[in-house]
């Protein structure tokens, strides 16, 4: 029930009190007229001003990228028993796909394979590899982390060991544009660092598995889906024919396979998400800033008036 003692008020005396009061009322009037909450409105406007252009730039960069996606897992297997078909080593799994290019694609055109429903980050899968084995010539026996693909049936260490290497993506693509065979550059698809340091160069000859050693290295990076590059430009309405050796079994877990051809820009691959998100957030911020202004006009509120403090609200019934 403690209310501020009027003793302090009397300190000012009636003389100064009137003067100060006038000044105070004036100050309050000014505040309510021009008291648009500048910092908050400014902050949100600023976010809007920064975000919308970035969003538009990203969006345009993303839009400029030509991306062709061709899903082929269903079409390339005609048999009804797809799993049986893919597991049969004797059948010819060649499959020809034709893609028409709608817009000119400026080289280099990146070739990706895209697996869906493929848990590349599954714990057993991610962990099952041996960086040391790949890095050092003499580390063939360092297969402890590779379980359950550490040793072959006769107990010899597998190089490279582990589930990642074991389940290497083994579809192959051969491209021709307008019936003219075109070379796919598979160099530089692994990061430079992986080749030179992470995986020692003297290890490659020892890799006994099928497939290109560089592809192996890139697969070691777990989710590298870059298959290769076409260095030349591709014109609009060109026809790309791809002969696919459809070897990789995604049928048993219902995964899809697709071939992706894409140009690149500073933003990376085709991805509208960043651009859309930026524009949206920028817009929301502008809207919020506007809301704050409107709210302030409708419901003005002077901040920091100590008389709002409950203990400064005096009760008329209980004057002290």
């Amino acid at each position: 029930m403690r209310v501020r003692s009027p003793k302090n008020a009397s300190l000012f005396g009636s003389l100064t009190g009137r003067l100060r009061l006038t000044r105070h009322v004036a100050a309050r009037g000014l505040l309510s007229l021009s008291g648009i909450p500048a910092p908050i409105v400014g902050a949100f406007s600023l976010i809007g001003i920064v975000f919308v252009p970035i969003g538009l730039a990203s969006l345009s960069a993303s839009q400029a990228i030509v991306e062709l996606v061709d899903r082929y897992d269903a079409e390339c297997v005609s048999a009804s028993d797809k799993v049986g078909f893919i597991q049969d080593t004797k059948t010819d799994k060649a499959c020809t796909r034709t893609i028409t290019v709608p817009k000119p694609m400026k080289g280099p055109v990146h070739i990706y394979y895209q697996l869906e429903n493929f848990y590349q980050n599954h714990r057993r899968y991610v962990k099952s590899r041996s960086d040391k084995q790949l890095r050092y010539k003499d580390a063939t026996n360092l297969i402890k982390t590779c379980e359950p693909e550490g040793t072959s049936a006769d107990g010899a260490p597998i190089v490279p060991c582990g589930l990642i290497a074991w389940s290497l993506f083994n579809d192959t693509y051969s491209f021709s544009v307008n019936k003219k065979a075109i070379e796919v550059n598979k160099k530089n698809i692994a990061w430079e660092s992986d080749k030179s340091s992470k995986f020692g160069s003297d290890v490659y000859p020892k890799i006994s598995r099928k497939g290109d050693s560089l592809v192996a290295a890139s697969w070691m990076r777990k989710c590298q889906k870059l298959y290769g590059r076409i260095e030349s430009d591709i014109m609009a309405s060109d026809e790309i024919t791809v002969v696919i050796q459809n070897n990789y079994n995604t049928y048993s877990f219902g995964g899809t396979k697709a071939l992706v051809l894409s140009t690149t820009s500073w933003i990376g691959g085709k991805n509208n998400f960043i651009g859309v998100a930026y524009v949206a957030i920028g817009g929301i911020c502008f809207f919020l800033a506007l809301c704050f202004v409107i709210l302030h006009v409708v419901k003005p509120r002077t901040l920091g008036d100590p008389s709002y403090l409950s203990w400064n609200k005096e009760s008329p019934d209980h004057p002290n």
Binding site: R2, A9, H24, L163, F253, I281, P306, P319
Partner: protein, 1106 residues
Amino acid sequence: MAHVTRLARSAPSSLLCTVSASLCLTGHIARFSGPGPLLRETADESPARSYGELDAAAEIWRRTAVLVLRPSPSPSRLQFFAKLKAMKRFVYINDESYQNDYCDNRISNTKYTLWNFLPKNLWEQFRFVTLSATKEAWDDYNRYISDRQANEKELWIVKNGSRKHIQAQDIQVGNIVWIRENEEVPCDLVLLGTSEPQGVCHVETAALDGETDLKTRVIPPPCVGLEFDQLHKLKGVIECPVPDKDIRRFDANIHLFPPFIDNDICPLSINNTLLQSCYLRNTEWACGVAVYTGNETKLGMSRGVPEPKLTAMDAMIDKLTGAIFLFQLSLVVVLGSAGNIWKDSEARKQWYVKYDDDEPWYQILVIPLRFELLCSIMIPISIKVSLDFVKSLYAKFIDWDEEMFDLENDTPAHAANTAISEDLGQVEYVLTDKTGTLTENKMIFRRCCIGGTSYGNECGDALKDVELLNAIANGSPHVIKFLTVMTLCNTVIPIKSPNGSISYKAQSQDEDALVNAAANLHMVLVSKNGNIAGRMSVVVLDCQSGKILLLSKGADEAVLPCAYSGQQTKTFVDAVDKYAQLGLRTLCLAWRELESEEYAEWSRLFKEANSALTDREVGVPETIEILRQSGINFWMLTGDKQSTAIQIALLCNLISSEPKGQLLYINGRTEDEVARSLERVILTMRITSSEPKELAFVVDGWALEIILTHYSEAFTELAVLSKTALCCRVTPSQKAQLVKLLKSCDYRTLAIGDGGNDVRMIQQAHIGVGISGREGLQAARAADYSIGKFRFLKRLILVHGRYSYNRTAFLSQYSFYKSLLICFIQIFFSFLSGIAGTSLFNSVSLMAYNVFYTSIPVLTTVLDKDLSEKTVMQNPEILLYCQAGRLLNPSTFAGWFGRSLYHAIVIFLITIHAYSNERSEMEELSMVALSGSIWLQAFVVTLEMNSFTFVQLLAIWGNCIAFYAINFFISSIPSSGMYTIMFRLCKQPAYWITLLLISGVGMGPVLALKYFRYTYRPSAINVLQKAERSRGPMYSLVNLESQLRSDKDTMMVPVATTPVKGKSSVYEPLLSDSPMASRRSLGSSSFDIFQPAHSRTSYPRNIKAN
């Protein structure tokens, strides 16, 4: 004793009887010094001694010994010695063959040994989450170092008849130890010899009991007169109790073997001992036999390790930790079973994962355990370390605070307990001692009334009163007697310094004041040998006239009944009352000549140290006023009489006089009277609780005793109702009981006091504050905080307590927030990785995230100030936010929980979407998410901090830079899992754009919400912050303006400062600006006034007012 009793019987006056009775009780008869006949009949259980010629003394002792002789042990009794050994110990003086029975003098204050550190510490950890092992180990190491210093101190002992130099730790029970002047006593000794011919020595016991005066110790009678070299050959046995911690008792017997004296058994008391940690003063040397050694000394036994106090905040953090732990467990169970189900239904189809079809049964546990590992970071381990760190900083801030430095006594404030600063901000009840706490306890001889004449004028110094000086000059017999009593009836030891000036060492302030006053009035106490003076009375032989005088001194209640009745007595009663009204402490002095048949004359005199408001401690009323504004309730517990207590309370603003306040008395002698009185008071309290009257109740020790035994429930209700209470004539244990009572009602209590009688209360309360004043250091030693002056309490609570609370509230919740954030990201990622428990972040990043990236910036919160100290002092009501726990409760915690969930979703979704397709490589993904978390952390800390110093900015943004530096470094190590990742990421524009997006999306809503709350639902803190920023100097307008507003405002919100049980802080977190909202009682129906409607109606009013 017989002599005295005879005298008393023959004396006609009632005074003498009572006084002699008190003599028997206190058991001290002393003799005034000087050459002259000895008072041979002096006899007492405690070894009173005469000091004259040595042989005479020895004679007396033999007689005394006869008087008090106890039966010597019969052979049959000796047979039971083996049994007795469990209860007694026998110390064979200077005898090697018996010395191995007891421990040596090695002391050990360390809590742990090498063997039990781990189990014992784990147990402690389990109990007290906030005590970290490293700090414990470090503290214990420091204790070990100081122990070692004490243990390795060199000193002389007697061994095999010759003196040897050994280390203190090698002292065995039974060794004779030599100590020189100003040396510390290494163990508990029984005194055998000193350099003084009278067989006394002086010790300073400050380290033991905090009393700074010198105490006299005497040689037990059988050893008196032993030659220096005889001491080397002394043999004998001391029978003493098993070690205990009572420093006031030592009931033992000494029995010297032939050829020394005889085979009589002589009793020993505490006056024959030198206890460990005392210092030998004014005595060239002393020697004694070790009876208790090592940790078995009185000091060692009483030391003990005090149970760590747990703050309300720690308890809350523990609760929240428990809740998070349960959440974690349920999450693990849910995700674990989901993972197992998914594994069986889906993962077996994923041939590349290569699950075995027939795996052992325990494989079912693998996925839950993986999730347990992932979620274990949910409970931040770093919170312990961070909290310990900031808590010790809070304590240091208190130690360093220059505004709490007592210039007068040159003492800084000190936080002995570094762990409970937050509790200071949550104090609801302050229980204060009067003497020396509210009053400065500086005794000045103010007034006296001698033989019916009052001396001393209004401005109050009797020493300057011309009339008194004249009376002395004229040799008025009354006045001379008065001065004699003043000078002699005390325990003061005069110490002559080399330059001839005399200083006095007194046990209490009153005595000091009196002797000094007498000295100023030309009655100088030059030397005093009979210093085993009685507390109440001394028997003095006047060597000139040969008369034996009894001088007595005491409180008026004790002395007045013994006095002659008559007109003069009435004058004295009036004078006592008058002085008490002035707030002076009164003492009555009385004397009478013992041998004269007739009562020659008597005189009673009063005097006292002032207790007037003006020169009572400076700033006490202001401090009480401010603290009461902040909602703290004051109870004054004092040993003083009721009228003095009320007077002091009025002067200190504790209670208001009539129209404004009302005092309710609870008194009565019998149970019924007390019960009726209590009932009446409670009724009045209930009725008037709606009126703006300041009610207080007064209760005295007698009634309190009855109430506490029979009516504790009713009294609890009264305690809840009453903001102020005065308890007079209470004992130390009653003080502690009252604290306990308030604690049982779930209030945070702070006890403040300065004397030994406050120690129990101080130890009992949540927070004990000791005033390192003049009444010794006992209270300050026992306390958690010691301050120089009462007025520092407001700074301690409002500034240090409040800041500590706010800072810890933020720090702890933030710690949970950041741990939850990273954990949620991990959990979301597991949905992408087949619910197998893959960790997105590598272990190095996770470790660094907890230890560096998120811990260091937030530690600078110890520098954060939400409001300036000045604003807090001007608006002490703001403390309510801390008291009610508004900044750390399940509700605010839920806010932080929600924020971490939201931020985790933002980071996860944006990272996944922005880095889909060819970039979605786990290592990259993890670094993007981690960078996003770090950025958000920096923004969150920036947003939540209120004041910025260079250090804070450096820590927050320097941490961001350090994050990149560290990761660049790790990325350049080829063998690390994230080789080149960071370089590659930083080259991509998409990385930076993604981070900006995360920051924008993460912080935008937080910012908007904060603004809305700040503007439309401001807490009082927000209002004051804004006021501080926009127009700090215009505070003064508050009062003026509110006065002007008051006539048009209809609905008012009174600040309820009466704490009510069951604070509902949880339900109204920071949304309401009415402090009452959190004070509202959940259960107590008697508080009709505290309607929640008040807080609601206040909003429309505010808006209207604009």
